[in-house]
Amino acid sequence: MSLTWRAGGGIIFQFCTGGRTLPGYSLREVLKVKSRALLAAGLVAGLVLFSASAADKKSADYVGVYSGEISTLNYLVSGSTSDQEMAANMIDSLVEYDRFGILKPCLAASWKNSDDGLTWTFTLKPGIKWVDSKGKEVADVTAQDWVDAALYISTKANASQIADVLTSVIKGAQDFYDGKITDFAQVGVKAKDKLTLEYTLTARVPYFLSMLTYVSFLPVNGKFLADKGASFGTDNTAILYNGPYLMSVYEPQSSRELIKNAKYWDLANVLIPRLIYKYNKEAATLGPELFLRSEIGYAAIPSSILDTWMKDPAKKAQIHPAKTNTYTYFYALNFNPKFKPEFEPDNWKAAVNNLAFRKSLFSALDRKAALLTEEPYAPERRMQNTVTPRGFVSAAGKDYVDMGELAAIAKKDSFDKAAALKWKAQAMKELAGKVTFPVKILMPYNSGSTEWTNRAQVIEQQLEALLGKDYVDVLPQAFPPTGFLGATRRAGNYALQECNWGPDYADPQTYTDPFAKGSNYNWPELATGYGTKDKPVYEDLIQAAIAETKDMAKRYALFARAEAYLIGEAMIIPYKNGGGGWEASKLEPFAAPFAPFGMSELKFKGQTVLAKAPNAEEYAKLEAQWQKDRTAALAKVK
């Protein structure tokens, strides 16, 4: 063994020193010649290989990078958005939204609702097929598929993360989940015959149809599910498809590819032949560069390099503002303070229960300055004066935020310097002797987010400058990202905190969930000074609205009143909506299904890949056109 090692080492050394192999040449010269030759050979080889490997993607395909890998294709259990994005494009539901946000039949041809609103009957389209990952037909889609899905989700042992959406509305489902009943036939989902599906609800739910687009109400082929058992959804061959796309390539942490489902019932509307995703952990950093080199068709432009792109005309021509979504952000004032004595919780509690104090904070918060930290160009488009966003729901031709007292609030920016100082004076008068000034305001923020960190500093400096350090002392406190909410909001460990909420269904009730009794946002039910005829308890207002299930216009009006009350009493300060930022995208805008909540916006059905990414002006034109068409379409529905 030692001989071969020596010989091996000898060869290396002969090469390096040139002692025996190339007599007369010094080491330096040998290395120079050899390395030059190697480099030349390498370059030639590289060029040959490069030109030989033709690009195998066509321009009509969509190519993107992603950094959040999906954890499973089992859409019956997963609550994560990246997983749901796949399900949205591979499995169809009973109903779907079109590009104007109008509910249309999808796998259900028609439906009817009983008079008491508790029974919904759906008639399915005939001839819809389940296919496997190669596109081969496996079975028909029948009503039993929804029953099997509901059974799987309602079985606690399967640990579905989206079970509560189903168990909260379907009769008997919660009992089945908790084990109180064991016969699934008692649960309110039945297949009357091959194409007739019947849902029985526990109570009248006006927005039930919108819930059907969510993962909890997707079908699954029971026989296939039983065959696969625990390996259902573990890769692309372990599920069946009935949607516009099926997954042909699944390589976790590497790439995935979806191709058009040739047996899809609505094939004419599926315009992108292939969706190619490449995984890259550094997608945020490399994305813009990859887009410039035409290797991908979509990149989000982070705000740190946005300025560079806006200053370069060639780059500026390729980006446009990204859509906002229905996530809502607001600043909550805590009525149930449970923080350390050094931040004076009792002092805060006394102050926050004073209306003038709350209104002074409400008027003093310069939301635009805060928003500039993350949206430097045109921050107004993300500023929101209500909790429920505009365009979420409408009834009787009127948008929700234009109803009743809410209309005035929706139009007015809460920031008002003069009003803030006026309320400050009044608060100081009313609270003199009861509260020590300056009032300490504990404001936690997530230290993992650069933008939030900066926003906290901006707000601290702004509030103290406007209201004076004799009045308030804002104390931003950093908390780490792991377990952030558990350490701050949920534990009552804050005085003023930026919170967010996303809707679960298409009804204004969803935006009252954080403030309802039993929730853990800011406990408005603990506010003192309410309960009289002029000053009703907020909780009562919500309950009155929830009770109204027949007349939608009346229901929405009652919710609007409750929300106007919440904001008017300055229990929260509405801030902004989610989404936004800028993107470079070749996807045709406003062609995808539009819905106020759920997975519809994740669908690629109806979209095409344009040759050139629209710039900001073209985007604005398309948006105006879409708004016009939408209004016309909505009018036709009513």
């Binding site: 030692s2 090692w5 020596r6 080492g9 000898g10 290396i12 050394f13 090469f15 390096c16 020193t17 002692g19 025996r20 290395l31 590289g46 290989l49 490069f50 490997s53 990078v65 954890s71 499973t72 089992n74 259990v77 997963s78 609550g79 994560s80 606690k156 042992a157 399967n158 640990a159 579905s160 993360q161 989206i162 079970a163 509560d164 625990a230 390996s231 259902f232 959804g233 573990t234 890769d235 390589e251 976790p252 942490q253 590497s254 490449k278 995984y279 890259n280 952990k281 550094e282 950093t285 490399l286 560069e289 990859l290 080199r293 290797e295 792991t482 377990g483 909410l485 558990g486 679960d504």
Partner: protein, 314 residues
Amino acid sequence: MIKYAFKRLLQSLLTLFIVVSFVFLLMRLLPIEGYFGDRFQKMSPGEVEAGLQKMGLLDPWYAQLGKFYAGLAKGDLGVSFIYRRDVAVTKIIAPRIPYSMGFGLTAVAIAMISGLAMGVGMAKNKGLFPDKLGTLYIVFVHAVPLAVYLLFVQLYGSSLLGLPILFDKHRPVSWILPGISMSLNGIAFYAMWMRRYMVDELNKDYIKLARAKGLPNGAIMVKHVMRNAYVPLAQYLPAAILATIGGSIYIESLYSIPGMGGLLVDVIQRQDNSMVQALVLIFSSVGIIGLFLGDLLMALFDPRIKLVKSEGAR
């Protein structure tokens, strides 16, 4: 020899047991909400409980540990719950090892050959320009943070040479840049080590004697210097080769290589207990085996070393 190997094996098993159990217990201290991600906000307590039950986290810790070792005895590394739900851990890890090892071994080979050659060249031209150039390279590689110059090489290397930014297993031309990047650090290490070693050796008396006797330079290098250099190299080599299983986290995340590198960081962040335990087991075993093989090789090469009585701790 056999007795020594057997004793080492037992010791290693004990060490492994303690290491894995220790990490296991550490993992139990992680917060519960980390297991569920963003969805945790909207989940009901029943759903949370069902999820924890499925992950086996509601049993007392000794029961969990016992279950893990029972499975291990059967060769079952467990099932992932969060990273890829319901998929066996072995099925997740197995396809990734060839990528990491492929790149890693190539990088080690390039690094060793280029680095040793460079080190020799530097030592021969000590104080002259090639030496200074080499030192500059070594200093640069050590000084500038890895994260920075790797990204730099990726972005500018790919645009200058016209190579694709991301790794694509169907396009061999995309394998070049990651392979070279991975070896940059190694080249510097081997060059520096070799240079220092050679400088030390060439000053020794027995070399002077050999020169005085009239032995040509090349023969001195091969028969004396390199022969002695193998010993410390051999000790290090098995560990280096086995370490390639771990993959390079920076390179793999930059080039989208589906290897083992980012896997560990990912599964710890997502709190996938079974994956973390399996990976810790694998990496620790690899480390122990590497050390053991290194000692063996070292003893094979150097007749002066006897394994039985070793002063150093292993």
